[in-house]
Symmetry: C2
């Protein structure tokens, strides 16, 4: 068994990426971040996903991204609903500056410490929000940098960043996850849940997720606020 660091947000995508990594026979070291996000229920969802999938190693890192402001996910800005604020070709306000770069940097450090050569991240370039740090060319550049950054790399243990979802539609991600027995009822994708953790059903993340389940032809088992 080989070790892999798996970034786990508690959302639908990362839960599926984790299941794929396990299906490949990798021993996952799940890594989650409490980064001042409004939707702090993410961490509880990440814990539940890790539990459901029998993950033995789960690291939760506290980082202060809220200080960097400027995102509707960390600052007191309204989360766009029903597609409002979405302009084709433009990056939405829910973008968090350099978030995946910071997350992958911690993943690289953890990988070096636990002796993992593989990092798994559930980014997607099909049904996604247009964030630049979800694109394959970004991931490739990060991997190149990573393999110049560490003592492990210098000593010959190169890092591979796996993006098993990158070319899948949201519906195909769900189909793949169901075939691996992912329990999507414990995952949370919403950018603006209520105090009970129920999804709004109207933010970009909910819209992508609901469209995915609709395309598969099954209901989303996660809880939603009454409309």
């Amino acid at each position: 068994m080989s070790d892999a660091v798996v970034l786990l947000s508690g959302g639908l995508d990362s839960a599926t990426a984790l299941a794929i990594a396990r299906g490949l026979g990798l021993t996952p070291h799940a890594l989650s971040f409490r980064y001042g996000q409004r939707h702090a229920g993410e961490i509880e969802a990440a814990r539940a996903v890790a539990r459901q999938q029998g993950v033995e190693h789960h690291t939760i890192v506290d980082i202060d991204l809220a200080m960097f402001g400027k995102s509707a996910l960390t600052a007191a800005l309204p989360v766009p609903k029903d597609g409002a604020g979405l302009v084709p070709g433009e990056i939405p306000i829910t973008y968090v500056p350099a978030r995946n770069t910071i997350f992958l940097s911690y993943a690289l450090a953890l990988a070096e410490v636990v002796g993992a050569r593989d990092i798994v991240i559930g980014v997607n370039a099909v049904d996604y929000s247009g964030y630049p740090d979800c694109r394959p060319e970004y991931i490739a550049a990060f991997q190149q940098m990573a393999n110049l950054a560490t003592k492990a790399a210098v000593e010959g243990s190169l890092t591979t960043i796996h993006t098993p979802l990158i070319w899948l539609s949201k519906a195909d991600i769900i189909r793949r996850g169901l075939s691996l027995e992912v329990d999507y009822s414990v995952t949370r994708s919403c950018y603006d849940p209520d105090v009970e953790g129920r999804a709004c059903g109207r933010c970009d993340a909910c819209r992508l997720r609901l469209a995915g389940f609709a395309a598969v032809g099954i209901p989303d088992p996660a809880p939603y606020q009454p409309r």
Copy 2:
């Protein structure tokens, strides 16, 4: 005046890099990290350097690298003295996994938030400890990744990472800093200072620093423990 994020550890190198950035007419946003290092006096030194150089913006970020263990700088491992443990071609135990990658990732986020296109880091590839994330090829790869990572980059505001010290000897770094009126008495380089913040004079960082001052022919104004 253009804004630049300057990584500031409080050591000799970063104090000089800051002075060079100021000399270029850049408005510095100094960025320091409290990362569980044994030599926590670094933060006080960084504050003193920022004060001495009239820096208006100084951000100190708390990050938990100590959890990643495995370095003599963050874990309860002895700091090598008098060149012990140094093997030519090997990376010393004071290496911290992915440290510069994490630091530069935060710098990238801060640069995007404050609208800075420039990041300054005082890495050096001449009189240095052999850390892989101080090499020019690493910095180049980070810059390439950075310019695929952010909304700012996608919108045309590319990031340049400046390494003004990279090809300077320690002595030339000191000469350059003195010409820019850097007060080296407030900088701290030691990996293992005593409780009064006095340098040990024997760790790798002290040895490189003392050799640099010796080559310039002046005494190091920073405080040292009695031998």
